[in-house]
Symmetry: C2
Subunit: 424 residues, 2 copies
């Protein structure tokens, strides 16, 4: 589907002079001109300003991301573009400064191509974006536009955020790589908060290597870069405590991934999660609702009527959560995090569903983060790898889950999974 080069290819060609940022930006804009009427991934895009910025970068830009166009989810502040947080309350808002992650990308030479559609405050009320594979289906959310734009080949890299399943799920539905790093790995300054102990900045890319490259530059962690070194991860096939939510497509994808991995000589064995992890799923919902109602207190106070019914619903639920109940949920989470190493044992990573199946039909909802909540609560490093398809011909990702702080291994394992999937 992609007509633009991968981020790593583009970076190499820009460095050796065989590609300009302007030409790459033009290729992105051409693809967008062609596809945006159907996909609707962009909340703000100014082609002339983007080309002018590209020429400036060609003249004087530098850094490892020099010339690479990046999409920025519209709950992430940009000083030179409006930032609407997916809510009519912030239509046309101009933050005084970029978010830290945007500044870090620009510092490394990247071009901010435009703002991508987010659900309302990165919760569940959808924006306008459609699945690039089927305009009648959701792209997932909340990072709807970033997932769709990268999967559709409109831009090589994009920022998203995940509080429940807002990076992994849309990447799975749209068919690109989504990487939710360990909690806190990428600085959140200037990102609209929803739940302080869960919100995590993540990235979208066409390949695992691109996602790893982008994150390595943003974090100043060269060890995150994945090269060609052979790595045969020990993988635990993890049907999770939420397995009953997995549809046929998700079950088949996991089995097929295991088959191809074994065919590639990679060890995959069934693993059961600790019984007491059953509580993590509900704990994530409790934490998210409780923290969300506090983060949204300003809007609830001044303009409750301009919030969607879906958002008001979780805020009312959050207001009803007793602090003791929240504290108990946080304790369950802390216990889970402390036991993560033991749960994995000698395994490098787990392989689990990214989502319940193909993207659901309809645009009124963004699908279910049922296979993401627990990992987000645990602060785990997660990568969804595309390459498999469901009965309707839509992408179905598989999720590689690693220990918090073990992002290098998780990314390397995800790259191995991607190689095995593409080997068929």
């Amino acid at each position: 589907m992609s007509r633009i080069p991968t981020a790593l290819e583009a970076a190499k060609r820009i460095a050796d002079g065989s590609l300009t940022c302007e030409a790459l930006t033009r290729a992105c804009l051409d693809r967008i001109a062609d596809r945006e009427p159907e996909v609707q991934a962009w909340q703000h895009l100014d082609p002339d300003a983007a080309l002018a910025a590209a020429r400036r970068i060609d003249r004087s830009g530098r850094g490892p991301l020099k010339g690479l166009p990046v999409g920025v989810k519209d709950i992430i502040d940009t000083a030179d573009m409006p930032t609407g947080y997916g809510s009519p309350l912030y239509d046309g808002f101009r933050p005084p400064r970029d978010a830290a992650c945007v500044a870090l990308a620009r510092q490394a030479g990247a071009l901010v191509l435009g703002k991508t559609v987010s659900t309302e405050f990165a919760y569940f009320q959808p924006g306008k974006t459609r699945n690039p594979h089927d305009a009648g289906r959701t792209p997932g959310g909340s990072s709807s536009g970033s997932a769709a734009a990268v999967a559709d080949g409109m831009v090589p890299l994009a920022f998203g955020t995940q509080t429940a399943g807002s990076v992994i799920r849309p990447a799975s539905y749209c068919g690109c790589v989504g990487y939710k790093p360990t909690f806190g790995l990428i600085d959140r300054t200037g990102v609209r908060p929803f739940a302080d102990s869960l919100d995590t900045v993540g990235v979208f890319a066409a390949t695992v290597e691109d996602a790893a490259f982008f994150a390595s530059v943003l974090t100043g962690r060269p060890t995150l870069r994945i090269g060609d070194e052979p790595f045969r991860p020990r993988i635990g096939l993890c049907r999770t405590h939420e397995w009953e939510a997995a549809g046929r497509a998700a079950r088949d994808a996991l089995d097929e991934a295991a088959r191809r991995l074994r065919a590639a000589g990679i060890e995959v064995r069934e693993v059961a999660l600790p019984e007491r992890w059953r509580g993590l799923f509900e704990a994530q919902k409790t934490v998210m609702a409780y923290e969300g109602v506090r983060a949204c207190a300003p809007e609830m106070l001044t303009a409750p009527d301009r919030l969607s019914a879906k958002l008001r619903e979780i805020l009312e639920a959050g207001a009803a959560v007793a602090p003791e109940h929240y504290d108990a949920a946080r304790a369950v989470a802390a216990d889970g995090r402390a036991g993560f190493g033991d749960a994995l044992g000698a395994l490098d990573v787990l392989l689990a569903p990214s989502a319940p199946g193909e993207a659901p039909e309809g645009l009124g909802a963004t699908g279910d983060p049922v296979f993401n909540r627990v990992w987000t609560l645990l602060g785990a490093s997660c990568v969804t790898v595309p390459g498999l398809y469901g009965p309707a011909g839509l992408p179905v990702g598989v999720q590689v889950v690693g220990r918090p702080g073990d992002d290098r291994r998780t990314l390397a394992a995800a790259a191995a999974v991607a190689r095995a999937l593409s080997a068929g």
Copy 2:
């Protein structure tokens, strides 16, 4: 020094109709008119607007904080007042919405009286505020204006934030109660970040009971309210691993507090912290520098020349911290948090210095957070209690430190300490 009632007294009198918000606000404004030329606690104050808001609250306000004037540190967003983050870069900036903690206070009926002076981005470059006891001395920082305003009786309650020692230290220097809750207890949405894993919203008040009352309303945790119930905490006298930084005044204050506590029949016994906690102090500095350079990336990218030399210094230090070094510091912190319960054993709280002594002379620096860094890194609940004085006649607080999440006990112990100190 205070000529205005405590928050609890005022709330009671406003509820029973014997005091209006307008009269209380006028009393605050009178005190400010008298003292502000010397103290310089306020970054933004509009007396007419405050009185108009007070009349609105008298007419139609409600909630447990009804009519209580609150000062808001100027790194905390307010929709109806400029928010300058202590930096010339944000002169006159108007955020689109209140911070969550401000909205929660307003929701409960409070009046935002004005914005109080903060150091630059809540780091060490001082604002204009002077110590209310001696205009030639620092009020401490970074919550300089909030501490000075509350200690000087200009306002009964104020918000601050702490990343190293920005609540406890200025409260100790100015002579009021400062309460830094457990990390995360009060939502941070709309508070300018400096170090994501450390930044904590705290409060200032004239009494421990007022601070506990304010926090109980903000968090919806009625258990935080401290009543008259007798409580004899088991207290560990903790000279900390940084004891050599304590001057005569701090040492004497701690001894005197122990003497008065024992005279009140409260058990105080010497306690030594675990040897391996020696690394926590440097770990906090590492974490703060590393996270700070990322949070300030937008300003470093666009306007490095408009940052103070002091701020640039830590940002340069942060840029030089290797990720592995930061990860190791975070691991030291996690180990400390996990061992906090064991370190306290059967003790309810620790009693430690709040600051190295009386407020230092001069206005070019805000003093040393040497006795705060470790507790902030551990996410502990901390209260500084006034009542003792040093050789120059300036206040010297003592710090009550409790386990993370154990705020009720910490506040109750602090109230017991305050009673013992005032009993002499």
